[in-house]
Subunit: 542 residues, 2 copies
C-alpha cells in the first residue's frame, strides 16, 4: 500500500524506474528536449541535401512547449478541478448568462498560436465557469461525484489513445472488455450472453430496438422495412425519451411507441401492457419489443420485470430493460431484488457512468442472445476485419457495433472496480440508497415539503416545496399554478448563488417539482440535511 | 511564453496561486487529508447521535489513496505512455497472442480491493502491452500521433466530467462547440448551417442518412416507414462501410445502398451515378441521398464533388460528403481544391480525430440546413430541456442529437487549435501530404515496390511489396496468389518485432496490398524512409 512517503517534493517515479529518471517529473518532461519524442530524429542528412524538403515537422518545435504546458496544467487541474471542485466549501457553479460568459472567456480561434501563459489562463477560466459535477451538492443529473480512480483511468485512456475495434490496435482493452462485461453479464444472469460498450444509454436502447426488430424480421438488414407491416414498441409513460428517439431513427416512428399506463408509483402496469399489446395486434401493428425501465428518469421507478416477462412470454415479445440509471442495484445482494426477473429478459442497458460513478461515458448493452449483435450489426469490412490475420480474430469485436471507431470506455471503470473490489462497489450503491431514504424521511417530517412518492424505489427523491405564503390554502388550480413557479424560481436562485444544483420538471398532471437525485456514491447524510435546509433558505420568501 | 524556469523541482502552481499552495502538487494532493474533499464534512454530530446511521460515506477513506494513486500514475503515464510511447527508439507494440496476454495481465475483477502498488503495476503493464498509437512508426489506422495539447485538453475534459446536452451543466463547452463548429462551418462554407459532435464518423454519416430521409418524408419521424416505397442511397464502391451499417440501422437495408462505379483512381464516376439514379427510379426505388467521399478509407480518393453536385441537383437529391478522413484539407488553402464544390453539398462528416490529430473521439456532422437537425431529432424531454429556465434555452443544444448524454468532444480540439493557430494547423496538414508524396516518389524508384495508384490524392500510399523471389516472373493468377500472402506475412513479422504498424487489405480485384497512411501530423521524411527500408528488411526472404 502506498504510504505518505510517496508525497516527496516532486511526484517521482517508483523505485524501479528511479535510476533512470531520478529527477522525477521534471526530467520526464525534459525528455522532450532530447529529441527522441514524436518522431524526432527527423530528416536524415541526405534528405536535407536533396534540397526538396520543406520543414516537414512543424509540430516538433511545439513538443517541448507541450510538455511545459502539461507540467503547468496538471497541478492546476488537480487543485482547481479535482480538489477545489469537490470541496463543499466552494460553489457548484459560477453562473453567467451565455452572452456574458462568451464575453468573459477568450474562446475565439485565431490564425496565430496562443502561448502557454494564455492557455493556462484560459484553462483556469474554463475550470472556474464549468459546473462542478463532482461537488457534494451537485444533484442535477443522473451522474455526479468524482472518483479519483475513475479519473486516473480516464487519463490513462487518453494517454493511450486508441479505438476498440480490433485486438490489433487495442489488445489490452479488448481483453478488459471481455472481463468487465463478463463480470456484468454474470450479475445480469445472462451466462451465455453478449455485450458491448456504447456511447451512452440512448444508443444502448437503440441497439435493443434494432436487435428486437432483427429477430422478428432478419431480412430487414438486407432489404429494409419497405413492404413490412407497421411495427410497434411498448414502453411505460414514464420511460426515457430515447425509446422514441430510437424509434424515429430506425424508421419505426414515434407514434408507434405505445405508452403503457403506470401505477401511482410510476411502474408499468403489466395488465395494461397485455391489453396494449392485444389492442395493437388487433389494429394490425406488429409488436417487436417491450421496454421496461429499472429506475425511471424522474421518479426512479422499477417496472415489475417478472410480471412484465410473463406478458412478453405470452406474446413472444422481446423484453428489453432500460437500466441505464437503476441497473447498478445488480451489484448489491440487498438491492437486486428490485430487478427480480432480469434473467428472463432479452437485453439490458446499464450505464456505469450513472449510479456506479464512472466518468462519462460508460454505457453497456447486454443481451442473452450470444450471436445476435454480430449477426445484426456486422458488415465484415475487409480493410479492418481481415480474416487472414495471424492471431485469433474472434478477439476483433468491433463489428458487433454500429460504430466503426469506438472510444475505450472500459479502462476507467476497470480501474475503479479493481481499486474498490466488488464488495465495496455494492456498499457504495447501498450508501446512496440509504442517503435517499434518510432524505425522504427528513422531508416528510419537515414543514413545507410534500413528497411526490411517499416511498421512492430508487435514489430519486421528488418533492414540491411549498413556501410559507402558500401553506394552508385551498389547493385550487390557481394554487397549483403558483406552486409550479416555485421550483424554477428556487432553481434560479441556487444557480445564481452557486450553492447547489437540483433539477426540476413537471410530470404528467404534476406541476413542476424538484427531482433530487443521489448519484454521488460519496454522498453523506449531511449533504441530505443541506438539501432540505438550503431549499427552505432559498424559497422561504416566495 | 512559458520558459524553462517552469521546470522547477515540483510542478508548482503559477505565481498567482503560489501563496496558498507553496508546496506545489505535493500539498495539492495532501489537500485530501484536510477533509474538504468529496463532501467530507460528513455526518453532523446530531446525525451520529440518532443511532440510525450506517457508514454513509464508504468512499471517503479512499479519497486519500486516490490522490496518492494519481500522484504515482501521472509520472508513469508521462514517461511510459507519452514520452517513451512516442520515442522512435522504442517498440510500437509488444505483441502477445490474446490467450497469452490474458495470462500475463492481472485484469480479473475481485471482491476485495487491489492496493495502489498492485494498481500501479497493472497500469504499467497496460501501457506496456497497449499499442503506441502516438509512435512515429504507427501507420495502421486513419489516426495517429500524440499531440500534447490534445492530451491536455482530454485530461481537462475528464477532470470536469460533464455532458453536453444543456448550457446548465456544460456552460463553457456549449459555447466552445458554438465557436469551434462555427469556425469549421465557415471552412465548409455553410455560413447559415448547423453542426454537432457525434461519437465517430459512422454516427455522423448516419445523421446524414436520417436527415436526408426526413427531408424527403418528414412524416417518417412520427409514423415510420411502413407504407412508404423502397428508398435507396448511392455511394461509391470504395466508400466506407458505415453507409451500409447506417442503412441497416435505419431500416433502409444494405441492398438499397447502390454502389456506384469508380474510375481507376477510386473516384466516383458522376455519369455512373446519374445512370444509377435513373435506373433506381425506373425500378420504383426512391433515392434519398448520395454519399460522396472526401478521402476514401483505403485509397484516399476524393470524389469529384462539383460534378456529383450537378447530378444531385438534377435529381433533387441530398448530397452528403463523408470527409471523416480527408475533410481536414479544408484547413489549407493549398489543398482545399480537392473538395471543390463542398459548398454545394447538403452535409459533411469531418473527424478531427483523424487527420487533425485530435484524441479519439472527435467527429463532427455539418449541414447547411439550419433547422433540420433539431426538427429531425428533437424529442423535447421536459425533465431536461425545460422551457421555463431563467436563461436563454436556445443554448441547450442537446436535443439536436440522437443521444441524450453526450461526451464533451470539443475541448481537446479547442486546446489544440488555440495552441497552434489556424495557420499552423494548415501547415501540419500540408506536411503529411508532403510526406506521402515523398514516400510515393521513393517507392516508385525503389526495387520491389509497386504502387496501387501512381498519384495518390490523399496521404494513403497503397502498394505491393514484391519480394526478390517473385520479381521478374510472369504475373499469372498463381503469382498474384503468392503476392497476396506477402503483406499478411510481413505484417505478422512487423507486429512480432514491434518495429512498425501498417495495415493491409484486398480491394476489389486487387489482392492484399499495404495501405500506408500518414495521419501523424508530426511525421517526417525519415519516417517515410524507414517504411520503405523496413518492409524490405522484413520481406526480403519471402
Amino acid at each position: 500500500m502506498a504510504g505518505l512517503n510517496h508525497f516527496s517534493t516532486a511526484p517521482v517515479l517508483e523505485n524501479g524506474a528511479q535510476n533512470d529518471f531520478s529527477g522525477g517529473l521534471q526530467n520526464i518532461m525534459k525528455g522532450a528536449q532530447n529529441g527522441v519524442t514524436n518522431g524526432a530524429p527527423s530528416m536524415t542528412s541526405s534528405d536535407k541535401q536533396k534540397g526538396d524538403v520543406i520543414d516537414t515537422n512543424p509540430q516538433n518545435a511545439s513538443v517541448e512547449q507541450g510538455y511545459q504546458f502539461l507540467n503547468r496544467l496538471i497541478p492546476l487541474m488537480v487543485k482547481d478541478a479535482l480538489r477545489d471542485g469537490t470541496s463543499v466549501h466552494n460553489k457548484v457553479v459560477e453562473f453567467k448568462h451565455p452572452e456574458d460568459l462568451m464575453k468573459t472567456l477568450d474562446i475565439q480561434l485565431r490564425d496565430e498560436p496562443a502561448d502557454n501563459d494564455q492557455l493556462i489562463q484560459a484553462c483556469r477560466q474554463i475550470i472556474t465557469y464549468s459546473v462542478k459535477t463532482g461537488h457534494p451538492h451537485f444533484f442535477n443529473q443522473l451522474y455526479g461525484g468524482m472518483d479519483l480512480y475513475g479519473v486516473a483511468g480516464s487519463w490513462l485512456t487518453e494517454a493511450l489513445n486508441t479505438s476498440t475495434y480490433t485486438f490489433e490496435v487495442a489488445p489490452v482493452f479488448t481483453l478488459m472488455e471481455k472481463v468487465v462485461l463478463g463480470e456484468m453479464l454474470n450479475l445480469v444472469e445472462f451466462p451465455d450472453g453478449d455485450a458491448i460498450f456504447c456511447p451512452g444509454g440512448s444508443m444502448s436502447n437503440m441497439y435493443a430496438l434494432n436487435l428486437a426488430r432483427f429477430r422478428c424480421f432478419p431480412d430487414i438488414k438486407r432489404t429494409g422495412t419497405a413492404g413490412l407491416p407497421v411495427m410497434c414498441v411498448f414502453t411505460s409513460d414514464k420511460a426515457h425519451y430515447s425509446i422514441s428517439k430510437g424509434a424515429a431513427l430506425l424508421g419505426i416512428g414515434v407514434d408507434n411507441v405505445i405508452k403503457v399506463k403506470t401505477d401511482p408509483m410510476g411502474r408499468m402496469i403489466p395488465a395494461a401492457l397485455d391489453q396494449a399489446i392485444s389492442a395493437a395486434k388487433a389494429e394490425g401493428r406488429v409488436p417487436i419489443m417491450t421496454n421496461a425501465t429499472a429506475g425511471t428518469t424522474v421518479l426512479g421507478s422499477y417496472d415489475p420485470l417478472d410480471e412484465i416477462a410473463d406478458v412478453c412470454t405470452k406474446h413472444s415479445l422481446w423484453l428489453h430493460v432500460d437500466g441505464a440509471w437503476g441497473g447498478a442495484v445488480l451489484l448489491s445482494d440487498k438491492l437486486k431484488g428490485k430487478m427480480k426477473g432480469i434473467e428472463r429478459c432479452d437485453s439490458l442497458t446499464w450505464n456505469p457512468h450513472k449510479m456506479m460513478g464512472a466518468p462519462l461515458q460508460s454505457s453497456a448493452f447486454f443481451t442473452k442472445h450470444k450471436t445476435l449483435l454480430s449477426e445484426c450489426h456486422s458488415a465484415k469490412a475487409k480493410y479492418l476485419f481481415q480474416q487472414d490475420k495471424f492471431y485469433d480474430v474472434s478477439y476483433d469485436t468491433g463489428d458487433k457495433s454500429v460504430q466503426c471507431g469506438r472510444k475505450v470506455d472500459v479502462l476507467k471503470l476497470w480501474v475503479m472496480w479493481k481499486a474498490k473490489g466488488s464488495k465495496q462497489f455494492a456498499l457504495e450503491i447501498e450508501n446512496i440508497f440509504h442517503c435517499a431514504q434518510y432524505l425522504t424521511r427528513k422531508l416528510k417530517s419537515t414543514e413545507g415539503y410534500r413528497l411526490v412518492l411517499e416511498e421512492p424505489e430508487c435514489t430519486n427523491v421528488c418533492f414540491w416545496y411549498i413556501p410559507p405564503s402558500l401553506r394552508g390554502k385551498t389547493e385550487t388550480t390557481e394554487w397549483w399554478n403558483a406552486v409550479s413557479k416555485v421550483a424554477p424560481e428556487i432553481k434560479k436562485r441556487m444557480v445564481e448563488q452557486g450553492t447547489m444544483l437540483v433539477g426540476y420538471q413537471p410530470d404528467g398532471d404534476r406541476v413542476n417539482f424538484f427531482r433530487m437525485v443521489v448519484a454521488n456514491t460519496a454522498a453523506t447524510l449531511a449533504d441530505m440535511d443541506f438539501v432540505a435546509s438550503e431549499i427552505q433558505r432559498l424559497g422561504k420568501d416566495l
